[in-house]
Amino acid sequence: MEDYKFLFKVVLVGNAGVGKTCLVRRFTQGLFPPGQGATIGVDFMIKTVEVDGEKVKLQIWDTAGQERFRSITQSYYRSAHALILVYDISCQPTFDCLPDWLREIEEYANNKVLRILVGNKTDREDREIPRHIGEDFAQRHGMYFLETSAKEAENVERLFMEIAVELMEQAKCKELPKYDGSLGPINGKTTSVGDSSCCLRS
């Protein structure tokens, strides 16, 4: 078995073009993919980080473009430990869609899932959403809040590290949504949280 103590599933949602894939690739690969375009071939990415001397593996899932016409499968939300809702601070419509996304999250995600609101693209000079508006929104809906720039690598590391720290704390208090006891993946691969009472899909 690989060397890590915790594995968490983190999923990203938000309108097309807000930079979800860029956030993931900046964090996992340390690069900013040039050019726009749908996310082809990327399923989920993995990065192992260290929290308090313990190895934590983050499995970060992207939408595979299904957000474009608001057609994300329910199964995408299943078993997520953390959910990052992203908007573009330079694009009002991406912020205006947040209530729709929240409705979908309420419907399909576990109600204990850790939620983080992220305003991306702080490198842009044409900001349309002031920071405090985003902060307010997050507070009203019980979400953590952070502004990031995938391009300038600003706050990206911090975003995922804070998620890892928070989830680990929850896992230690056993507050984590439990997906326990299921057979899990049938292909013999299985990933687990903590004491192996939790089986997640890999």
Binding site: N111, G184, I186, N187
Partner: protein, 528 residues
Amino acid sequence: MDDDLPTDFQVIVVGTGMVESIVAAACSRIGKNVLHLDSSDHYGGLWASYNFDGLQKFIKEVNSDPKRQLQVYNLSEKWYIEKDSPQEKQEDDENKTEDSKSEPSKKVWSQASFATEYRKFNIDMTPKLLFSRGPLVELLISSNIARYAEFRCVTRVLTWLNDKLMPVPCSRADVFATEAVSIVEKRMLMKMLTSIVGYNEEEMNNEFKDWNDKTFKEYLEHKGLTPNLIHYVLFAIAGGTNKMPCLEGVKECKKFLMSLGRYGNTPFLWPMYGSGELPQCFCRLCAVFGGVYCLNRPIDKVATKTVDEGKTVVTIDSKSKTLNCDHLVIGINECPKEMISPEPAESCDISKAVFITNGSIMKSEKEPLTLLRFPPLTDEDNTVTVLEVGPATGSCPKGLFVVYFITKKVKTAESDLKPYAERIFDMSGGDQLEASEKPKCLWSLFYNVRDTSAPVSGAADSVHVCCGPDAGLDFDRAVEQAEQIFKKICPGEEFLPRAPDPEEIVFEDEVPRGPEFRGDDADAEPQQ
């Protein structure tokens, strides 16, 4: 946003049922440019699962739209509990304070408490199991789509024998542990089952060549099996009836036995959150490889036109836009009549029912996941398949069970299935807390589904019509049809080759599993 929808694709798939979704994934996987649409706001079509709210919407829709009744009809929903339960608020408060001290006492459910917990229900329109070594499990593994789904093992197989529920011994250990069968019978049974597992296709045809026009029951009698054993093998293992042809029975038995010992104690797996998750897993793969997804997108008209060099293009009108493709794959529930050729022959429709109960049909230490095969109670009836799933499968809130009934239609769903339900549930609507042998039925839904599982062909070579759900226990026919359609669209291409892994494979401790099926003879090892 809809206006951004590109218009030209190699393959357009309409409908997100099982067959359509597998074809979409397979085409996208080998690089075809795929658009996948559905007229409704959710995935799955006739294969969908609903939360309790969604299910209510579905019932309303069907009752108010005569067009929907071509597929689903005779819908009859019934509550066996009060609208509101007056004590409930009180009880809730009590539970909060006592939570840490002791288990809360059994909950009294009301229609209002169902509504509050609506999200925790995942109720399947087409509940099905997977054989552990069946084609769908193999496909999920070989394509790497297994990573999108989780499963639970069916923990027991039951049958109805001498007017009560009886566990069916599945594995060798079960057979020897059971007290329902004598030692002599055990040897007899093991000998027969071992020989069935040992036959290859050729030997099987050879061994049974004189049995072509005889029934499986006659064969079992010929082998000297006692009535009890015949019941187990014929009804519970082969899932047959008195009329089941011999070779079919042997094949069904072999399928059952070969799937033993891979995951749990029985040959079956159940998808977490219901069968409706599986089409979505294939859709995810399709999207990962570039497939474009758009729900809430009804189509108005389908036509074909011949362009230069005799090439045919399929055009689809949808929301004042014309979409073009080389191949249209369309679910039978979304398909305009004129595109089906010829009209499918009259077939036997399906009777279904869903029950929500406050306990398992047969108590067990751990939460059970049960397959029950009811032999026909009358000569007119067919075998009734019953699946009972609990909260651990993500199908319902704690304290409840969802129970599915499926059979071939004789009269109506209600008259076909109610006599069976009454055998195992208390349907009196009485006090929920009252101790009783049978679980209380809290809610029921009966409905008939038109059988659209017969293969049909499209009116043109480039239109591929996907069949609807069949009455069978597994997904095998859907997988088979999807592969056939894919081969027509992409001749010579590999069907769902393995998708690359984003990480190194991690092996962890094995899932506890039952023993493989083994006979008395050491040389009768099952094939891997």
